[in-house]
């Protein structure tokens, strides 16, 4: 569970079923899929029938089989990566019907990417039901070169684009779906504290 210490950081209250929605679209990763199973257990069987789940993660065949069993009778699609999942979500939202409720469960980069894509379809971020599961890894934008470094588990971290050592701030942009990274040794070049794996 993430602890929010700063007002720009989203809060992920946990998944709860919207029983009034005519259909549900749920995006999750492997760890988030467990939250979806729990969501279904808190609603009646017709809720799952009205739901489509995109698992945007690389799954072993046995994991995929387990997911199919656990998430039935929902419609399930397995996409090989987060970016493939977001492409599929956008395609889905292009033709989305009225009365749809959107959910996201998994890492912060997954939730952030869903919220970011949904904004392009006029879906308010507060209307999306979210639950953080799994790794604390972050997506970080370098404020200097503007490049994004994915799956960040340490602070500080090396920018994968310009190579500067970045302090990862808690300041978060929904529009960019990223935390802000700022050069940690700008005042005293070379004075870099050891990298700590705090976002495992």
């Amino acid at each position: 569970m993430t602890i929010s210490t700063i007002k720009s950081r989203p809060i992920y209250p946990g998944l709860s079923p919207d029983l009034n929605a005519r259909s549900n679209i749920i995006v999750c990763d492997k760890a988030g899929a467990a939250a979806v199973t729990e969501l279904f257990s808190r609603a009646d069987a017709t809720f799952a029938k009205r739901s489509t789940v995109f698992i945007a993660d690389a799954l072993q065949e046995t994991e995929a089989a387990t997911a199919r069993k656990d998430l039935a009778p929902a419609t399930l699609e397995i996409l090989p990566s987060l970016s493939a999942g977001i492409v599929r979500l956008r395609e889905f939202l292009d033709n989305a019907p009225m009365g749809l409720r959107l959910y996201a469960a998994g890492t912060e980069p997954l939730i952030g990417s869903v919220v970011q894509a949904a904004a392009d379809y006029g879906i308010d971020h507060l209307s999306i039901r979210t639950e953080h599961r799994g790794s604390l890894m972050r997506r970080v934008q370098c404020v200097h070169c503007k490049g994004f470094t994915e799956n960040v588990t340490t602070n500080p971290v090396t920018c994968s684009h310009c190579g500067l050592t970045l302090f990862v701030r808690d300041h978060y942009s929904r529009r960019l779906a990223a935390f802000q990274g700022v050069c940690i040794d700008a005042e005293n070049p070379g004075d870099v504290p050891p990298m700590e794996a705090i976002y495992q």
């Binding site: 007002k7 720009s8 200097h144």
Partner: protein
Amino acid sequence: MALIFKDETFRDDFTYKNSPATIRRFPFPFIEDQYRYSVNIEPHTPGPKGSVYEFTFDIDEHYVSEMRDRAMVLQEDPGRCQALPHMMTAQWDMLELVMVSLARDYPDLFTLHRDGAHWHWINKPLNIDQKFTFGEVNSLPYEPMEYVGRQIQGDFSLQDQRDGQLWMDAGIITSQADWSLDFDVGMNFFEWHAPVPLAHEAGVFERALKFLLNMQIGQPVRRLNWTMTINPRLDTSPENYPKWGKDRTTVTPENVGEKVHLRVELQGLFRLPRSNAILFSIRGYLMSLEQIVTVPKWGRRLPRVLKSLPPELIEYKGLARYRQTAIDWLEKYDDGAPTSPGGGPD
């Protein structure tokens, strides 16, 4: 008094300096001998003649050189000026407020002729003569916010109002105290202020937002904010932090008076008529410690204020490396005498 525009720099050789008359009108932000955080909002009504509050927007001797510095920043990093698509009406509102105000307040410098939507704008100091159609973006060389933002001192952001919140959905920000428009654009009032310490807990932002949401057209307000900057550098953006961060380690007892600058922001807030957006102007003033102490009251007060800062604020404003050096140098100018209330010189 006619303005004489200085030819000076805010980077590299840093030739920026205030003339003696400009020192006297510096908006010294400390009204008492100790620091206290407050919203400190007051009506933006015309102040005394010659003061920075005399007119809606203050133009001073640094105007032409500041506009040149802004153009350089935008050339290197176009992301310092951004507007989300729904902000076009607010952009025109801003252009109108700025042009009408400047032409009214500085008739020797700026002229605006309006015939319906056909406008003719003349900016003498920058040698600009532009006819355009109000409301037609293609009739200007830039979008309206950028067009007029390149011709007025200070940074500007435009806040859309919806869902009981203000959203920073546009801005032209080239001389900021270490915050990124590119990162913050699209955030709400609480989100873009998120990194500020102490004030959230004190309820400052909730009260300020409530106040701002109820702002009326024609009743602008203002407040002062401050930080410190090494060298008279306008562009202390996070984007360029690797370029200016090192400056903080260059302060010595010998150069502190010349290098360390008090940076004061005269912040104005204006409700706009068509868009119902709020224009936020951040007009910055820089003055070196050695120029500050030419006003005895300020020389006494500034070291007292710097000693009273809470640690969170020292960290947030980035003063830690040189605050003590500044205090030690300034204390020579504090004879212990009492100071008069208010920020102005005696």
